[in-house]
């Protein structure tokens, strides 16, 4: 992968990632934590801020936070607490959010991610628990509020400003997403808003130690757009500084909150930071501090599932998968699980990986996705097995795959059985004339082979396959050619 050059400039990027936890109930109430229901059905007295209601902390959310802390190798606080963050907005049922401002549950730690073939550790500043707000819905003559989302547990993971390219930022974000999925703390569905990213971007001259003014880009809902947005913002800032070389850098950039315009591929100012909001944080008196013991934390640590970077290592060292494919697989836990399910049927990691990541994912490039398609992992395993056993050729396998794609759930063995075209020609008498024809037509290649050029053999095999439209059994073609050339 080629890194984009910014000449003498260095981007500095920090990410704040909000992830909704997949707990059964909300962070401070027993209302269900569920997406997509009728508006204002998953609500209770706490979620609508009724007077006299009190928050009660969800233990499952704390457990998932501790898991995350351990997965990041962070310090999990033995005592952390909640604060009130005051602001008026109709989607906020109490007009204050309950968050962790001073004493977060997770301090430090790092995220391991692959960037351009190297393993990188990105530092996390802290992560804290807080409750989500409701959602405003605008109609033609009025606006309504849906409080179903109000009170959904969020964990906000705040990185250090330690990333220096859009690629690094997206590698970090994808790794965070993967970790949350591996510890089963979130579905991280970006379309449904269960993973939301705010990016802080500044640039400085290479060698400069101090950070320059930063801006924040909010509401990015895909990793791809995040990369584009950072790229556009970095370019904008470099241009701005370059256009004002003699001015104090502090006066050049207006810090504030920006949005990314997907059409124009530009960032634009949403609101300036100068009138900084005062959230009047102070300790939440309705909740005692979260107290954890070292033993509790150790128990969670020792029962952590395999984490993405551990799986990556396994794929690269044990399965000898290419780094790019291994990254692709591990970044989406369901995909890696799918891959391993196929592997259980056909223990040929390299080929299975290739069929999953190239052939099958490739067929979904334009729409849909493999994991939700109904194509069984075990069927992909079977398909690769059919190739490995020489039952079908690679070329036929692609046609079989096409049929698996158009008829999800159809067993490749059945597909092959049902279609005589997919059954390779194993009959020597019908292959032999083709071999003879190829040998006669390619005297130069025959000579090359005899002179010791192995590649000439492969060429001849290819020619035979071409003649038979890929239907001859490769093992028999090999056999015949070898016999005739010696």
């Amino acid at each position: 992968m080629r890194e984009i050059s910014y000449e003498s400039w260095e981007p500095v990027i920090g990410l704040e990632i909000h992830v909704q936890l997949n707990t059964k109930s909300k962070l401070f109430s027993s209302a269900p934590n569920r997406f997509g229901d009728e508006p204002n059905t998953n609500i209770g007295i706490v979620d609508t801020g009724q007077p006299g209601s009190l928050p009660v902390l969800n233990k499952e959310a704390v457990h998932k936070a501790v898991q995350l802390g351990c997965a990041l190798g962070a310090q999990v606080a033995l005592s952390s607490r909640f604060d009130r963050k005051s602001y008026f907005y109709p989607d906020s049922p109490r007009n204050f959010q309950i968050t962790q401002f001073d004493a977060p549950i997770i301090v430090g730690g790092s995220v391991v991610a692959e960037v351009g073939g190297t393993t990188r550790h990105f530092a996390v500043h802290h992560a804290h628990l807080e409750d989500d707000a409701g959602m405003l819905k605008h109609f033609s003559t009025f606006a309504g509020v849906d409080y179903n989302r109000a009170g959904v547990p969020l964990i906000e993971i705040v990185s250090e400003p330690c990333m220096h390219s859009p690629k690094e930022a997206s590698a970090y974000a994808m790794a965070v997403k993967a970790i949350m999925q591996y510890i089963d703390a979130s579905d991280c569905n970006m379309e449904e808003g269960s993973l939301r990213i705010d990016v802080n971007v500044s640039v400085r001259k290479i060698g400069e130690r101090k950070l320059r003014k930063k801006i924040e880009i909010k509401n990015l809902n895909s990793f791809h757009y995040m990369e584009l947005a950072i790229e556009a913002e970095v370019r904008r800032q470099i241009q701005l500084y370059s256009a004002h070389p003699h001015e104090d850098p502090a006066n050049v950039l207006k810090s504030g909150t920006y949005r990314f315009d997907v059409e124009k591929k530009e960032t634009f100012l949403m609101r300036e930071k100068e009138e900084a909001e005062d959230y009047r944080y102070f300790p939440e008196p309705d909740l005692p501090p979260i107290s954890l013991t070292k033993e509790e934390i150790e128990r969670v640590r020792s029962s952590l599932p395999e984490l993405p970077h551990q799986r990556f290592k396994r794929y690269v060292t044990e399965y000898l998968l290419p780094v790019g494919s291994a990254s692709l697989l591990i970044n989406e836990k369901r995909l890696a699980d799918y891959f391993e399910e196929a592997l259980a049927v056909c223990n040929n990691p390299k080929n299975v990986c290739n069929w999953v990541t190239v052939e099958f994912i490739g067929r979904f490039r334009d729409r849909g996705n493999l994991l939700d398609s109904g194509i069984l992992a075990s069927h992909i395993g079977k398909l690769v097995q059919l190739i490995d056993k020489g039952t079908i050729t690679g070329k036929i396998a692609k046609s079989v795959a096409d049929e698996m794609f158009s008829h999800p759930g159809k067993d490749p063995e059945q597909i092959v059985r049902d279609n005589s075209d997919y059954q390779p020609i194993r009959d020597t008498s019908s292959i032999e004339p083709l071999v003879d024809e190829v040998l006669a037509a390619n005297p130069q290649s025959v000579a090359d082979f005899k002179a010791g050029k192995g590649r000439a053999f492969d060429y001849l095999v290819g020619q035979v396959m071409k003649l038979c439209k890929g239907k001859a059994s490769p093992s028999i073609v090999n056999e015949l050619l070898t016999k005739k050339l010696l």
Binding site: R280, Y281, L287
Partner: protein
């Protein structure tokens, strides 16, 4: 049982003494109501109060004036003035109040009845409309100490819906209170009481004499930090209140101004029309003390002083089992007489300390002024020592018998 109007009874209106909640029906029962009803208590009605419990005379109610049964020209105290007056006038034997800075004890003192503020966390706040969450406690008003102790055996049960609720079971108050106080030690912060006027002082000293006669030792203790208690109370309580009351915005329930056409107008006009002047004053004060640039000088400094007050109480309890003070600086006062808010705030000078430190405290009738107005003795014990409070209060009550005194206007025997 009569219930202060900031405690939810499902399906009934909880106005909290505010126009804002004129027609707000409680969607659920407060834990205290659930506990009482499980014991077959009869809830007979809701009682008047200062708006959102902010006041010491019940004059800040948006609805009615409540009068003191001992003298109808006078205030019953506040903010739980309705609950205190109802029990004093024998309209019911028991009522519930809430106490954030003295709102149970001061009206109990001014109405000549027993009022108890439990250890913070002893009684669930679930269903109590919050004023200052770290100070609020629900507690009972009764005619005598025994009734009060019995009530607390029910009200003091653990509640999982309030995260600050104590998991330890309530004490065996009725049994413990029977123990005598001979040989036990009462601490009196004499230095802090120097400003007391002569009549209340004389009544208080007489009460201490009574304790001596019961065999208690009296020691002088230092609680001079309490002189800051009113100042820090009006920082901490208003800070919490400014956020607790932020939910009253006209969006989801309660008052929504009919003049409002935009979101900002809903916020502005609904509060303007829904809140009274004292509530507005405290929201503004609380918002100010939490603001960037002022938080260190006010809110954070007040928190530090609160820690010191807690510390000073701890030290004081090193040399005594209970602290005795007057409940209020004086007997009741004519309605409309105290117009300066700061003067009104001083009503709570002796009671706020127990809220700051989360201590159990009671007011028991201990004497009458020359014009026959009642006056209360306040007894404060260490945290979770609610039983000790009842023990001293019961011994004292038995010795003087003022708890049987009924306001003449409401005494059937006097009237007949």
């Amino acid at each position: 049982v009569a219930v202060k109007d900031n405690i939810h009874v499902q399906g009934e209106i909880s106005t909290c003494g505010s126009r804002f909640l004129k027609s707000y029906r409680a969607p659920f029962d407060a834990t205290v109501i659930r506990l009482l009803e499980a014991e077959d208590a009869l809830i007979i009605g809701k009682t008047n109060m200062d708006e959102f419990a902010m006041g010491s005379s019940t004059e800040n109610s948006a609805w009615h004036l409540t009068k003191n049964p001992w003298d109808l020209r006078c205030s019953p105290g506040g903010s739980s003035g309705g609950s205190a007056a109802a029990v004093a006038a024998r309209l019911c034997p028991i009522s519930l109040g809430s106490d954030t800075g003295g709102s149970i004890r001061q009206p109990a003192s001014l109405c000549g009845i027993v009022g108890f503020k439990p250890t913070y966390g002893r009684v669930s706040r679930y269903g109590l409309v919050a004023f200052a969450s770290s100070l609020d406690q629900i507690g009972p008003f009764t005619h005598n100490v025994a009734d009060n102790a019995l009530m607390m055996e029910i009200l003091g049960r653990h509640c999982p819906l309030d995260s600050t609720s104590s998991s330890a079971p309530p004490g065996d108050y009725l049994k413990t209170m029977q123990k005598e106080i001979r040989g036990m030690t009462i601490g009196v912060p004499w230095h802090f009481l120097e400003q007391l006027q002569s009549e209340p002082r004389a009544i208080f000293c007489q009460a201490i004499e009574t304790c001596k006669n019961l065999g208690a030792n009296i020691v002088d203790i230092r609680l001079d930090l309490l002189k800051y208690s009113v100042a820090i109370y009006y920082i901490l309580a208003t800070a919490e209140a400014s956020t607790n009351l932020a939910r009253f915005d006209g969006v989801r329930y309660g008052k929504r101004s009919s003049r409002a056409a935009t979101l900002d107008e809903i916020y502005d006009f609904s509060k303007q029309e829904g809140f009274g002047p004292e509530v507005k004053r405290r929201i503004l004060l609380g918002t100010f003390v939490l603001s960037a640039g002022f938080q260190d000088a006010f809110y954070k400094k007040a928190q530090k002083v609160r820690s010191l007050v807690i510390q000073q109480f701890k030290e004081a309890f090193g040399s005594c089992q209970i602290v005795a003070m007057p409940t209020s600086p004086m007997t009741t006062f004519p309605l409309g007489e105290i117009k300066d808010p700061l003067q009104m705030y001083l009503q709570d000078i002796f009671t706020i300390g127990a809220n700051m430190a989360g201590l159990p405290a009671i007011s028991v009738p201990c004497g009458f002024s020359a014009d026959h107005l009642p006056f209360g003795l306040q007894l404060i014990a260490p945290q979770m020592q609610d039983a000790t409070v009842y023990q001293f209060a019961h011994a004292f009550e038995k010795a003087i018998g003022f708890s049987h005194r009924i306001p003449p206007l409401f005494d059937d025997e006097v009237r007949l």
